[in-house]
Amino acid sequence: MFEKVLIANRGEVALRIHRACKEMGIQTVAVHSTADNDAMHVRLADESVCIGPPLASQSYLNIPAIVSAAIIANADAIHPGYGFLSEDANFASIVEEHGFTFIGPSPDHIRVMGDKIAAKSAMVKAGVPVVPGSDDALDNAQSARRMADEIGYPVLLKAAGGGGGRGMKIIERPDEVADAFSAARGEAAAYFGNDTIYMEKFLTGPRHIEIQIMADNAGNAVSLGERDCSLQRRHQKMLEEAGSPALNDDQRKSISEISRKAIKKLGYRSAGTLEFLYQDGEFYFIEMNTRLQVEHPVTEMVTGIDIVREQIMIADGANLGLKQKDISISGHAIECRINAESPIDFSPSPGLITDYHPPGGLGVRVDSGLYSGYRVPSNYDSLVSKLIVHGATRDECLMRLRRALEEYVIGGIETTIPLLERVILDPEFISGKYDIGWLEKFVEAEG
């Protein structure tokens, strides 16, 4: 087993990794910028190395600094966390070239999944459903009509050179195809100087559902079930559930098994997540994250599996101690992301934490580097705490979440707790009937 692991990240995930290491008897090295001298994981780590100034490009994204720190601290392995260098295939290669173990998948898998086209193509080959559409440009209105009839309405026309909605047309009915096609082509030519047009299925109100997978070097692969991350604002997830209130057992087993088989076929190693859009009983692969996810704790709460511990074990060469039949989902879990920002206009709110009291009791977990007297730096992501709650049922979980949010005291800065409290009291949210556009509408309606 590794004797010493360097944690190439900051904030709550650095603390998460530190805790997993300590629980395995592994020493930890925290690397940090000067803005994080007083961060909790830096204080708790066995060793710490300052690697640069606050600017991430000169510290948490600074590959030579991180590798040098690993060398001088004599670490055995590097855990990249999420964000920063966690999906940088080049970083993973350099780490391995210097004789350290990268706690994650192979650089090749990171590279393939980092390229959306290559990832989609690899997943199609591995039997994973993707958003139906034309891989080639549409020549004329007739071929557009044929394609639309094949995919099923509504469909979306997109300009190859495009963006910003220009050249995009939604087609609801067959008789709209011809006009829409020429309008889209005209706009595309006018705005981008390129009239190439593609078509794909248009999802009117999809949910974001993802599958947590885990695989070892020996080809064993398991699925730890789904997470529903449809509650998003500007593509940022705010609250995640396991399991999804939208799926029945057949659906969750089916997509779970499709994902498991795919990563087994791909020869993937370590933890990873397949992200899907889900609508009307169908799943459409969008991308794969080749790293730990922010929302991994909800899966830990319902499966009882310590995902970071398993990552470290697999990186150390151990085989998965679990088979698919050993994995059972127990109860329901929800994670709330608590950000240091205004719950009204989402402006950042860094600063001194004057009071801090996390909720406790049965079924409540807090992953946070906050403490009373800590100063939240203005240089990084605003995520300062994750509140994760487990219950025997979704109802019980929601009631527990409500009382836990009420108990949570974070003084001195603004946080998104008041918004979360309002969201979980909303009847639509409680009913589970929300898609990826729901939160934006909720926030607008409030404003």
Binding site: V29, T34, N37, D38, M40, V42, R43, L44, A45, D46, E47, S48, V49, C50, I51, G52, P53, S59, P64, A65, V67, S68, A69, I71, I72, A73, H98, L352, I353, Y356, Y371, S372, G373, Y374, R375
Partner: protein
């Protein structure tokens, strides 16, 4: 025993100086006599001390914050290993008491097999060398003090 003959006036004067300058401590010595006055910052943040009680000492010293550092300190621009001489066995770039000019190489920091010269940011006299040859250093760590 003769005891002390503490100079009230001096203490009061130093206290006033603390106020004026915003310092938290003044220490003064002359021959066999010395005096030190300090004032704790009022409303110190309660947190860190609490946590630090459980934290183990870092392997390498924490970098001095900008506020506390010596004005003539040359700090490490990167993490790495210090080399005080251009090659093993050769004479060091600088020694205590040397006068250096701005831009003169003071030492090397090796990071990922690259040897990066650390140069004097100003002319001056080398009054302290704070690192040993082949020592690991953090970003921002004080290396040499020029006066």
């Amino acid at each position: 025993m003769t005891g002390f003959n503490v100079d009230d006036e001096l203490v009061r004067k130093l206290a006033a100086l603390l106020d004026d300058t915003g310092l938290t401590e003044i220490e003064y010595a002359k021959g066999e006599e010395s005096i030190r006055v300090s004032r704790g910052t009022t409303a110190a943040p309660p947190g860190p001390a609490a946590i630090s009680a459980t934290a183990v000492a870092a392997a390498s010293p924490a970098p001095s914050s900008a506020a506390g550092s010596h004005p003539g300190a040359v700090t490490a621009p990167m993490v790495g290993t210090v080399y005080l001489a251009p090659e093993p066995g050769s004479a060091p770039f600088v020694s205590l008491g040397d006068m250096v000019i701005e831009g003169q190489t003071l030492l090397l920091i090796e990071a990922m097999k690259t040897y990066n010269p650390v140069r004097a940011t100003r002319a001056g006299k080398v009054v302290r060398i704070l690192v040993m040859d082949t020592a690991p250093v953090e970003y921002g760590e004080e290396l040499i003090i020029l006066e």
